[in-house]
């Protein structure tokens, strides 16, 4: 019985969510408290497991048994190795902090908070399912559930049209990726014979490379959707319509990282020989493209949450690129540090937004460094980690990725370095405009320091943002079995990343000064307009793909219906029957000669059949 304790990771949030929604939907405070307690409880459980508490392997629950031997039955099981448990630490840790932060952030909100906290609990359950799953089917269930909870939470303020649309967009875009994922799961079952991670090892050697590539790329489609890679990245910026703690938990730290986690789990289970050349290049290129595009688009965003969203996209691109370079270790390291500092940045942004009376435009903020010093300090810690200043956690993980890129393929190394420069530029821009100079609007002018429920998580995350990169912490906490942090090495990656750091900071300082300007000096030219409009990719999808399908697809279907089905099949058959009937009616036309003719033809046919076709002696 005690070995089934890991099932509590899943069941506790699920039960709490059910109770919240069914029993306490009129008592938001009780719901909030229950939810937060469950998050803290799962975090404590996770810490206990990581400290070496052994309870044995959990039971496997056979969901759909198969009658014949040799076929995998569909079962639900948990895997509790280092990769899973340390990832659970990230999930439950950030989850607990976000729950606590939400208590402060959502206070005074007019919407139904029980729904919000129930949604958060469902999310915790779904994410735990993905992390702890021992086969691809269970992963897929968690995958879909995570998309569903994301839909619930993004659309929490569903009275706003933009929020409802954003929730739909997120879900549908994810669905497109999930289609490829499902095909990938079926291919895995066909090619490897099993979908359980533990049984996949060592089978990749005897399989045709084309099949392996197809399988891996289909599975990668799921990651493209969930981790918002190009071309399915369009949902993430719109997902900022949800409450900021949701953005922090789901769209920064955990859900979007699920794609990377799944890919690394596959690399560990199938072995890196399953990831063929073509597949790796595809994955790495998609990651690189996402990183570059997102960084470019972030440079001209005015909404603080949008900047952070694009930076998340960009960092996810880094992680996927690392997976493509077969550096799963570096990818997970970056995922882990990114989770901490991105959650910090989002929660900090949330605190800023609340304290500026729900103002999100950075050009309407300013001078916040003087008015809310502690919050701004935490935010800056996160920024320093993101732009990879030496000594902060982000520096170590980004170095690891750049090392791996340099060893495998220098092209990606230089792309990574370029994106690092862009990252530095836009984050410095954000900080200069939002925190320095004078307040540009009344909201910023009246800002006060954030409350304790919001500050404490910020401080905790700030500490993690600083220390989580160092070897003595990272070796225990990075979700990768046998992870060992590289020491501090001087070499080409170090010089290049220092160079891009300096380049970015100097460029930002030159353009934006010390935040004294009131409008963006770079805005107005066509490139920056294009970047603001997200390089028109959204417009292309909306008008081109969706509008095209709806309009032209509808026209085609209407044509098919009117012309083909009604015209050819229905009316055509009627016409044909009528004509045939008329034709046959000529045979009986009352004319003697006609009858004689038909009789003559009949004689000829009859004689032909009798004399020539029936074999006779």
């Amino acid at each position: 019985m005690i070995q089934n304790l890991p099932w509590l990771f899943l069941l506790l949030p699920l039960v709490v969510a059910a109770i919240d929604w069914l029993c306490f939907s009129k008592c938001p405070r009780t719901a909030a408290g229950l939810s937060t307690l469950s998050a803290i409880a799962t975090f404590a459980l996770c810490v206990a497991y990581l400290n070496g508490w052994q309870t044995g392997t959990p039971d496997i629950y056979t969901w759909l048994p198969t009658a014949t031997e040799g076929m995998t039955s569909l079962s639900m099981g948990l895997v509790t190795d280092a990769l899973a448990m340390r990832m659970m630490l990230v999930v439950t840790g950030i989850g607990a902090l976000v729950h606590i932060f939400s208590l402060g952030y959502m206070k005074g909100d007019s919407s139904n908070l029980s729904r919000y906290f129930a949604g958060l609990s469902i999310f915790m359950f779904s994410m735990s399912t993905i992390v702890l799953a021992d086969n691809l089917a269970m992963t897929f269930i968690g995958w879909e559930m995570v998309g569903f909870s994301s839909y619930l939470l993004i659309g929490h303020w569903f009275h706003k049209d933009s929020a409802a649309d954003a929730a739909k967009k997120a879900f549908i875009t994810n669905r497109v990726g999930d289609f490829g994922f499902l095909i990938g799961i079926l291919l895995t079952l066909a090619v490897f014979g099993t979908i359980t991670f533990a049984e996949m090892g060592g089978k990749a050697a005897g399989i045709a490379p084309a099949l392996l590539t197809a399988t891996v790329i289909c599975l990668f489609c799921g990651a493209v959707g969930k981790s918002a890679q190009f071309p399915l990245h369009v949902w993430l910026p719109d997902a900022m319509e949800g409450p900021t703690p949701v953005s922090a938990l789901i769209h920064a730290a955990t859900m979007v990282a699920a794609g990377v986690y799944m890919l690394v789990r596959l690399q560990v289970s199938m072995g890196t020989e399953a990831f063929t050349e073509t597949a790796c290049i595809t994955i790495a290129s998609v990651g690189a493209i996402t990183a570059v595009l997102a960084a470019l688009m972030a440079m001209q965003q005015d909404d603080i949450k949008r900047v952070l969203a694009y930076s998340t996209l960009s960092q996810l691109g880094y992680m996927v690129m690392a997976v493509g370079l077969l550096a799963g270790e570096a990818a997970m390291f970056h995922l882990y540090t990114h989770a901490w500092f991105k959650a910090l940045l989002f929660l900090g942004a949330g605190a800023i937004i609340v304290c500026c009376h729900h103002e999100q435009d950075i050009w309407k903020m300013g001078g916040l460094a003087k008015r809310m010093p502690l919050t701004v300090l935490c935010f800056l810690m996160g920024t320093f980690a993101l732009i990879a200043i030496p000594g902060f956690s982000g520096f170590f993980s980004k170095e690891a990725i750049l090392h791996a890129a340099l060893e495998t393929s220098p092209v990606f190394f230089w792309i990574g370095a370029g994106v690092a420069a862009l990252t530095t530029f836009y984050m410095t821009r954000l900080c200069l405009v939002a925190f320095c100079g004078q307040a540009r609007d009344h909201g910023a002018a009246e800002a006060k320091e954030a409350g304790p429920t919001m500050l404490l998580p910020l401080l905790a995350l700030g500490v993690m943002a600083i220390i989580s990169g160092y070897g003595f912490i990272a070796d225990f906490l990075v979700p990768y079995a046998g992870f060992e942090a590289h020491g501090f090495e001087l070499g080409l990656p170090f010089y290049v990343s220092m160079g891009s750091l300096a380049l970015g900071i100097i460029a930002a300082l030159l353009v934006y000064g010390c935040g004294k300007r009131t409008t963006d000096p770079l805005a107005g030219n066509c490139l920056s307009t294009a970047l603001r409009k997200r390089l028109y990719i959204d417009t292309i999808y909306d008008k081109g793909l969706i509008g095209g399908i709806q309009e032209y697809g509808a026209q085609i279907i209407e044509f098919a219906d009117a012309a083909l089905i009604r015209g050819v099949i229905v009316q055509g058959f009627a016409w044909l029957t009528a004509k045939f009937g008329m034709l046959l009616s000529w045979i009986q036309n009352g004319s003697l000669r006609g009858y004689a003719l038909v009789a003559g033809i009949g004689i000829v046919i009859f004689v032909f059949i009798l004399a020539f076709t029936i074999p006779t002696l």
Partner: protein, 223 residues
Amino acid sequence: MESAISSILFYVFAAAAVLCAFGVVAFRNPVSSAMNMALCFGFTAAVYFGMGAQFLGIVQLIVYAGAILVLFLFIIMMLDIKAEEHARKSFPLACIAVIIAGIFAGFVTKVAISLPGATVGECPAIVLCESLGDLAPGSIAQKAATEGLAPYGSAMPELSPAAAAKALGADEATAAAATAFPDTKLLGQSLFTKYNIPFVILSFALLAGTVGAVALGRKLRKD
């Protein structure tokens, strides 16, 4: 020598009969058609004579050309039927009819040629039976095979009529009475012994025909 002349005569009469048949179809005046038909029947009778079926040849002339044709002419004259108008629009129909006729003639030709032995003059029945390995017992074919009689088309000398009558199973008296043209007598033998009953029934058919013609030809009295 004789057989060569009789072959040539057959071809001549056959060609003439075919030409007259064309005339029946082609002439617009029904009287012309009737005349052509008379000639056709006449040449057919000539062919019968050439085949050795003298009785049937005479019957052809008497009944067909002499009775049926005269009846036709009588009706044509009585109803005073004029020549047919030459209608242009029946040309496609004429083409189709010609094609049908041609196809039918082709079928007959093919069947005729494919009968085993037909192109060289042997009896197809005997040839077939021989190839099948049995001849119907009591049949003339068997007799011919066993007694060494010459089947049709062979070059053996002809039997005298008496011997031929005996070969066909006639008794002595009839065989003695067989003359140079035994055809009628032999036909009569077959007709009145083996086919007696159908012969009687045929007379009933003729009676029915007579009664029917009278009944149909009556003028209905208007009361």
